[in-house]
């Protein structure tokens, strides 16, 4: 089950990626009886070269775990990840090393992801040295180039992370990721710790780098405005499962899954006097259920305003309900042509 229309060359293909975490520490109970967090459950998606796939969802939905599975920072419980046609699911550490050049990560917290005892120049040079590219002089020249590429200056090489602001540190993190000239960057909430004006600068940097270097991004975030801004396609996650995958604009214009609809209607939008699509606000009741004890059937049914009996019993598969629109819902909010369905509440 690969829920995408072929458009370009597929760079990353995830098939039924599943990640379970055992909880409760040491236990004498048999393995099968221990409680398990279903962090990611059967996620299949594809990322094409040069595009940005946004992964959006609330805290605990498994978006970060999915990101880590995609680059093999965590071992998968089940499923397969292919990068540029190569199955990387079961590669050993040594075999993974050349693969790691091609996929890099940018983390959320620019304060925690840089070693405070090392100079910026050394932090960025480390991947270059590890992968053995060039003489010290070449490495130094390359570090300078990378710093300028991300909007810092060569004179920053000898400074320590504490001398930088949050936005500058995030730029250092990006420079480090670029050092290996990767094909794919998985960015996990890269701007959520930054102030609005700095966030805009870093988002622009991501856009410029993509234009200049033809990078492919998997961009994980919870901010709906940010995700829409950066993404060509968006995957919406809820309780470890994909509930909707679609191009950014159609998804925001007419969400197909009730959860996407609720998420969009809950985002506080700035009223600046320009004409905007006014949505009916849908305020969900209750909280996200515990991923240890997931609801039966559709994981969203206890909070879904459209839920019916079938949703309690039968888990809906992710299916194409309109061209390019995939959703896991028995009663999708769009018709086969992508228009809002008659029963959707929040359409204009």
């Amino acid at each position: 089950m690969t829920p995408e229309v072929e458009r370009g060359e597929v760079l990353l293909r995830a098939t039924d990626v599943t990640k379970h975490f055992a909880v409760g520490g040491v236990s004498l109970r048999p393995r099968s009886a221990r409680p398990v967090v279903h962090a990611v459950e059967g996620v299949s998606l594809q990322v094409r070269r040069g595009e940005t796939l946004g992964v959006v969802g609330e805290s605990g939905c498994g978006k970060s775990t999915l990101g880590r599975c995609l680059v093999r920072l965590t071992e998968l419980t089940a499923g397969r990840v292919e990068l540029a046609g190569q199955d990387i699911t079961h590669l050993s550490r040594r075999q993974l090393r050349p693969v790691r050049r091609n996929v890099q990560l940018v983390f959320q917290d620019p304060y925690a992801s840089l070693n405070p005892r090392r100079r910026i120049g050394d932090i960025i040079a480390e991947p270059l040295q590890l992968h053995g590219s060039g003489t010290p002089a070449q490495v130094r020249a390359e570090v300078g180039e990378l710093l300028e590429r991300v909007g810092l200056s060569t004179s920053h090489v000898d400074r320590y992370p504490h001398e930088f602001s949050g936005g500058q540190r995030q730029r250092v993190g990006i420079a480090r990721a670029l050092a290996m000239n990767p094909m794919l960057i998985v960015a996990d909430e890269p701007v959520s710790a930054l102030d609005v004006s700095i966030q805009a600068q870093v988002l622009n940097l991501f856009a410029d780098l993509q234009d200049d270097l033809g990078l492919t991004y998997v961009f994980i975030a919870h901010d709906l405005g940010v995700v829409r801004h950066v993404s060509d396609r968006i995957a919406v996650m809820y309780l470890g499962e994909l509930v909707e995958v679609a191009d950014a604009d159609p998804l925001y214009d007419a969400p197909a899954h009730p959860y996407s609809e609720a998420l969009l209607s809950a985002a506080p939008e700035i009223d600046d006097g320009t004409e905007q699509v006014q949505r009916e606000r849908i305020v969900l009741t209750g909280d996200v259920p515990n991923p240890v004890d997931k609801p039966t059937g559709c994981p969203f049914h206890p909070r879904c305003p459209y839920a019916q009996e079938r949703c309690v019993i039968e888990r809906p598969p992710l299916a194409e309900v309109a061209p390019g629109r995939f959703t896991a819902c028995h009663f999708p909010l769009i018709t086969a042509t992508g228009e809002p369905a008659a029963h959707a509440m929040a359409q204009r």
Partner: protein, 334 residues
């Protein structure tokens, strides 16, 4: 115009540091009418939290100096001694913070926390305290409050904790609630629930709310008036629709432009403000925003006053040219 509930005049908060004096709040004045929601927006370090905390003497740092006046119902909070202030805090004015876990003690139940707020100001029996706690939890939308009142904070989810903290803040029906980033730690759907709750409180109790946030969307949803702060000063102030529909200060333009919208047409690049926010230690003598401003000119070496009446701003640009400048600034980026 009725008597304002709170009138802050020329509030100055400075910290003595090893690297010199940091002026965290530098001459802030504003007023708040009863029943009004004032949104205070700005980036980190703009002085939005410090100004509110200093009014309530919540800053215990001995290197901190607070000057100016903050008249609450005519009484100056800054001049009050600790005892007088203790009478007001939690009863007439209460403050809720971003991270609910720091306001809750893990070893006591949620109900105890709320009852303690009551007991601090009036003599209440255990039973009345508990009954009122259940009532308040019900009001902030905690399901099954009679049972949840005996839960410990760790048994609550993030959104429920924030609601429990709001319930604590409301225990004595304060006439002013200061909410410091009350939804920042929450998910969007939970945030929507908390915003609804704050909206209802204002409607049903007529409380005034000062909402401190960096999220322009949240302010747009809830506030009547908006105060934009930069480097410890107010740069623009006015009714929400005035500030958001017709922003006057270049910093407000930048702030509004920097936010990626979920519902507006997409742009490849955002009109970002260059540079980083001014630090309280290095704020220039003139307009603090000048180093980042595309429209700075000779006059900006001098600090502009906040002028303009109901919709005021602190900028030297001639008012009649602002709209054109703003439009060109936006178009250049697109």
């Amino acid at each position: 115009m009725p008597e304002p509930l709170l009138e802050v005049q020329d509030l100055r908060v400075s910290f003595r540091t090893r690297r010199g004096v940091a002026r965290a709040v530098d001459g802030l004045s504003f007023s708040l009418q009863p029943g009004e929601v004032l949104g205070v927006v700005g980036e980190s370090g703009s002085g939005k939290s410090v100004s509110m905390m200093s009014m309530l003497k919540l800053i215990r740092d001995p290197n901190c100096t607070v000057e100016g006046s903050a008249r609450f119902r005519g009484q100056d909070l800054i001049a009050m001694n600790d005892n007088e202030l203790r009478q007001l805090r939690g009863r007439d004015i209460s403050m809720i913070f971003q991270d609910p876990m720091t306001s809750l003690t893990p070893v006591y139940t949620v109900g105890w926390h709320i009852a303690e707020q009551l007991g601090a100001h009036t003599r209440v029996s255990k039973a009345t305290g508990r009954a009122r706690a259940i009532e308040l939890l019900e009001e902030v939308g905690i399901p099954d409050p009679a049972r949840r009142v005996d839960d410990y904070p760790h048994q609550f989810s993030g959104g429920m904790r924030q609601r429990a903290v709001i319930a604590m803040g409301l225990a004595n029906n304060p006439s002013l609630l200061i909410a410091d980033e009350p939804t920042t730690a929450l998910d969007v759907t939970t945030q929507a629930q908390v915003l609804d709750l704050l909206r209802r409180l204002r409607r049903e109790h007529g409380s005034s709310i000062i909402l401190i946030t960096h999220d322009m969307g949240v302010v747009s949803q809830l506030a009547d008036r908006v105060l934009v702060m930069y480097a410890g000063r107010a740069v623009e102030e006015g009714a929400k629709t005035d500030v958001f529909h017709d922003p006057q200060h270049p910093y407000t333009w930048g702030l509004l432009g920097s936010v990626p919208r979920a519902r507006a047409p997409r742009v490849r690049r955002l009109p970002a403000i260059p540079g980083s926010p001014a630090s309280a230690l290095t704020a220039p003598a003139g307009c603090a925003f000048a180093p980042r401003c595309a429209h700075r000119h000779g006059l900006c070496d001098e600090q502009p006053p906040l002028v303009g009446g109901a919709h005021s701003d602190a900028c030297w640009l001639p008012r009649d040219s602002r709209r054109d400048l703003h439009l060109t600034a936006v178009q250049v980026e697109r």
